[in-house]
Every structure is written in structure tokens, then in C-alpha cells.
Amino acid sequence: MSTKHTKAADLFIENKEQQVWHNKTLHFVRDKRDKMAMQLPEWEVLRETAHKIKMHTITHLDHYLDLFSTRAEANGIQVHWAKDAEEHNQIVYEILQSHKVRKLVKSKSMLAEECHLNPYLIDKGINVVESDLGERILQLLNEPPSHIVMPAIHLKRQEVGKLFEEKLHTEKDNSDPTYLTRAARAHLREEFLTADAAMTGANFGVAETGDIVVCTNEGNADMGTALPPLHIVTMGMEKVIPNLQSLSVFIRLLARSATGQPVTAYTSHYRKPREGCEMHLVIVDNGRSEALSNEDHIQTLKCIRCGACMNTCPVYRRSGGYSYTYFIPGPIGINLGMLHAPKEYYDNLSACSLCYSCNNVCPVKIDLADQIYKWRQNLDSFGKADPMKKVMSEGMKFMFERPALFRTGLKMAPIVNHMPRPLIYNGLNDWGKGRELPQFASESFAALWKKGKVSAANQKRSNHEQ
């Protein structure tokens, strides 16, 4: 009874030191989030409002997308629509090609990651440079992100120091964070100055004004878009919100939930192309409209990608981002993977103890755990249920539907207590890995009741009192 997640988690946990460090580091981010959340008396009202705005927008998406794209076009932005990842990549490539772009600087975009844009463009000869520090580190390492907000959170500074030593020729054994950041900055500055085009994601698209809003801490999006003559924005179609007033609700929630900051260092509004420059917006569906018609899972479209559900998830913290088979890990990743391709990503469903903490931290109140529970119910219907779990569940059903059999079972159970240890704690017993089995009582509650021993327990008390 194990999934790909189980096996990857085993390996991650084997390196105890790294596991403990990862757990602590991520919990520290959750603590910072708590501190921020507790400082705002209106926190829960904000979450409820954010939930309502998102529900309203995604259930009137045609209207808001129409408004948003019309406004954006009126502002001089060229709008493209992509039905899936492939079309998205093609559109981006065509735009780049028509501008003879050789070097593209990119700020962090989970959508580009979802569409596998980088390998696509690199394959076609374009030099793609990630400009978010974490993303750049991973690009140099040729690794995917392990977290959606802090993509390189699994790496220690010593590992980054080693990498920079090799790739950026920094001093030997110097892993001082300030030193490394300065080195990365100098290196990236060169890339910014020589880029032919910039690409950003979008945290929000404001329908009323046509604004594209990008939140970063490093100013890399602004630096990237300020220099070259071409700016491409890639945006999932669920990112649209009605107006600037609703934006204020999300801005108050986003950074507080994500990193425990009151606000990100930069909140940039892009409304129109710079003088003499071009700005393109690619709005992507890639399965989102299908999710819209899925009553059980529509709420995933509310996600503002803050990562709080990962930081609080006791399983994510102890198994790491790479233990999941979908590129987004944690509670939201489990659900998005299932929406995307259930037969491919069902392994992640085991990575949940149904503690419901994710539901409570989510700034837009996505019912993440409830959805995981629902996905588990579907596994059997497409032949991906674990056979062992199925047999166990069938066995339980058989016994529990027969009260007399159940009571016989209760009577027999204590025998297990006296079975030889090797028979109980063998390789087949997953409970026995790290835990002792509970001892069955010599007399069950049902047996005690039947013999009148339960009420007798109180009889004694009354006699005593008399």
C-alpha cells in the first residue's frame, strides 16, 4: 500500500536533518503569517469577502474577461487567447519571433511552469533568463521549483554558495546571504541590460481598468519590463477580478498569507505599453473552463497562489515539494493535479491526513481538504484505488454491517495481543513501522454492557454514597 508520494516521502524523511530543517523553515513562514493575520481584527471578514468576490467573478467569467480584454485593448495592449499550453507556447514564440528576440528575461510565473514554456523556447533557440532569485538558482541547477512562492526554499545557503562558486565564480566557501545576493544581482543586471524582451506573469487582471497587477519582492519584474521594447504577460483566465476596490482586498491578504509581510515590496500595475514599445497579453484556459463546470472542484479557481496551504500542511513540510508528482505541491497542488490529469497525478492523494488546516489558512477559503476527500472517492471509478485499501474497506464493511459478527470479532480480538511478535511486526504491517499496535481490551465495551458491568460501575458509586 504505497504511492509514488509515499516512496518519495520515505527518502526525504530518511535524511532526518534536512527533514527537520525543512519542517521548521516552512513552519516559521506559517508563524509569520499567523502574526500578520492576528494583527488585523477584520482578517476573517477579509477572507470571507475575498471568497465572495472570487466566487462571483469565476461564475461570471465571460462578462469579466470580455470587459477586461476590451479595456486592455483600448489601452493599447494586444490580447491573445490560448486554449491550452501548446497554443500558449506557440503564441509566445510567434511574438518573440516577430521581434527577433534572442534573449528573454522572465519574472516568476507558475503558468509558464504549467505550460512548460522554458524548455519549449530554449528548444527553439531562445535564451530564457529567470530573474527571480530563487527561480534563477533553480535554473542554474536545472531543477523545478519545490514551492510556488519560495521556489528554492528546500536549498540551504551553503548549497547556493557552492552553485554560485561554480556558475558565477564567487569566492570559495562564501555563503553569506548578502554576498550571494549581491553576486546574483550583478550577474542579473547584465542580463537585464542585454535582454530583447521581458515576460511576467499576472497576479491579478483588473476588469474595470484593464490593469495587470504583478506582485514581487525583488523588483525584478519592473527591472525586466523597464528596458526592452517588448513585454509579454501570461495570465490564467481565472486571475481576473472586477475592480480596483476588490484588488485592495486581495492585496491585503496575499503577502500576509504568503510570507507574513504586510505587502510585497513591489505591487506593479501595468496598464499600457511604454512609448514606442509593445505589450502583449496571453490569456490561457488550459483546463480552467472545464474546472468551471465541475461543481465539486470549481473552488480551486479562486486560488491566488499564496502558498499558505503548503506552509501549514504537516505532510508537505515533512516530505518536501519534490515528493509530489505534480509541479505544484501541497494541498492546492494535489487538487490542481487531479483536475489536470487524474490518472497521471492520483499518487498525490495519499499526501493528506485530512487535518483541514489548509482550509483555515487559505485567504480565499478554498475547501482544499474536502476536495481531496472527494477525489479519493473517485479513484475506484477509474481503476486507481489501492487494492489493499479496497480489500480492507470491504472487509470492514462486511463485518460492521453484521453486528453479531462484529461482537464476535470483539471477543476474538484480544488473541492478537498474545501473538508472537515477529508475526505481528513483519514487513507487511505498515502500522508497525515506528509504532506499537494497540492492546485489545480483554472485554470490549459491548461485552461489559451485556454483562451489566457498565451500570454496575455506577452502582458501586451509589452504594458508596448511601
Partner: protein, 246 residues
């Protein structure tokens, strides 16, 4: 007031003393308590594992068995939460309106909210660390969840405070999951055990002699880890402390 005692399957088999303590408390408070013998399990283990269909008949059985009582009370927050949150949906699939879910209570919330117990006899002069179980906290709201910005409360601590001499503590990461999670504990044993070890360490660091809670399933899991590692801590269900003077 007629009370139907709901003793979940594993409490029945492993912790009958928790059932007895629950009975004692209700009886002491002058309530008419009955234990319908035909009950077995609420269906949660199969449903959480992804086999809700195998729990439907059990939900029907449950609804039928407990229909006649004014309240259904059980000493296991997680099982009660399953009856409350999931039985109505399960029965809807069969075109059956669930009659028992809204009158099913965990013993702690029943004592706190319905009976409004404000004194109990007995002393429990020990240091006790309270285990806030996920379903108790986030589904039944036995205490305020650490993620939410709401006024703090704890029905479990309120009740335990009625015992003379008791010293209450709570672990760091006050309501982080202990890693049980039903079938999760055997499907993801490494993560589950690791969570259990961390949780135990946090409980032990309070200096408590006992860990108590409203969910015997969490206690069972932590007890298993503690026993394997010979950790110096004892386990006791909330009802056993509350009934210790009866």
C-alpha cells in the same frame, strides 16, 4: 432526556474504559443512558480511504439504531464529526433524510453546551497536556483553531478545569495534526510516524505527565509511537479524567 451512547468501534475494542467513563458521567448527571447493542462503526475509516460507498449502509444502520433517542453522545470527536458532516450526504444518495446527525454530539461539547456542566466532584492533581485533535478543533469547534483570527476558547480545557488540582498545558504548534488520519497512518507510515514523534516531543516538552484529548484515535497513534520509543508519558481520555471522582 434519553441518550443513546455511541461507542465507536475501536473504542469498543481497545478502550472500553473510555466508554465506561462516558457512561458514568452521563449517569451521574441524571440522564437516562442506553447503549444500543446493534451499533458497530460510523463508516469513517472506509470513507476517508476513498470508499464512501461502503459506508452508506453503515450510515443507514446508524440512523436507524439511534433514531429513537433525544441525543446521541460519543467519546470520539472524529467519529462524531463524520456522522455530523458526512452522514447526511451519504444518506441523500439513498434518498433518505438523515435524522440523527444534528443530534449527535461529542461528549465534551455535550457536557459543555447542552448540559452546561459547571462542577464535577474529584481531584486530578496532575500535569496534563491537552491534545487538540484536528477534527475536534476544525470540524466540531471544540476549541478555536490556531489559523483563525477569532476569540480563543477551549471547551475541553473549560471542562478539565473543573477538576481540582489539575494543571493544564498545551504543546507548541497547539493544534498541528499528530499524523493519525485513519488509513493515512498505514498508507504514509513514514510521514505519519514522523508527525507523531514531533507531536509527542511537543507534548512532553510541556513537562506534563499525561496527554489527554477528546479523540482516542489520536491518543492510540501517539501511544503506539511512545511505546515503541519508550517515551515517558501517559495517555488518558478526557472522560476518564472527568469521571475520576465518580
Amino acid at each position: 432526556m434519553k441518550i443513546g451512547l455511541f461507542i465507536p468501534c475501536y473504542v469498543n475494542a481497545v478502550y472500553p474504559e473510555v466508554g465506561v467513563a462516558t457512561y458514568k458521567l452521563l449517569d451521574y448527571l441524571g440522564l437516562d443512558v442506553d447503549y444500543p447493542l446493534e451499533q458497530t462503526c460510523c463508516g469513517q475509516p472506509m470513507a476517508n480511504a476513498g470508499f464512501e460507498d461502503k459506508a452508506i449502509h453503515l450510515a443507514e444502520q446508524f440512523d436507524h439504531i439511534f433514531d429513537a433517542y433525544d441525543y446521541v453522545v460519543g467519546p470520539s470527536a472524529s467519529c462524531v464529526a463524520f456522522v455530523r458532516e458526512h452522514h447526511p450526504d451519504l444518506l441523500k444518495k439513498e434518498g433518505h433524510v438523515c435524522r440523527t446527525s444534528s443530534k449527535t454530539y461529542d461528549i465534551c461539547e455535550f457536557l459543555h453546551d447542552i448540559v452546561k456542566v459547571d462542577k464535577l466532584p474529584g481531584r486530578f492533581p496532575h500535569k496534563v497536556s491537552v491534545h487538540n485533535s484536528c477534527h475536534g478543533v476544525r470540524e466540531l469547534h471544540l476549541s478555536s483553531a490556531s489559523e483563525l483570527n477569532i476569540p480563543p476558547f477551549s471547551k475541553v480545557k473549560d471542562l478539565l478545569s473543573l477538576m481540582e488540582g489539575i494543571e493544564l498545558f498545551e504543546p507548541a504548534y497547539v493544534d498541528e495534526c499528530c499524523g493519525f488520519g485513519g488509513m493515512f497512518s498505514v498508507e504514509e507510515p513514514s510521514v505519519s510516524v514522523c508527525m507523531g514523534q514531533d507531536k509527542l516531543r511537543n507534548h512532553i516538552q510541556t513537562g506534563a505527565e499525561y496527554i489527554t484529548g477528546a479523540d482516542s484515535s489520536c491518543l492510540m497513534h501517539m501511544q503506539g509511537v511512545a511505546k515503541r520509543e519508550n517515551l515517558p508519558i501517559k495517555f488518558i481520555h478526557v472522560t476518564q479524567i472527568l469521571a475520576s471522582g465518580l
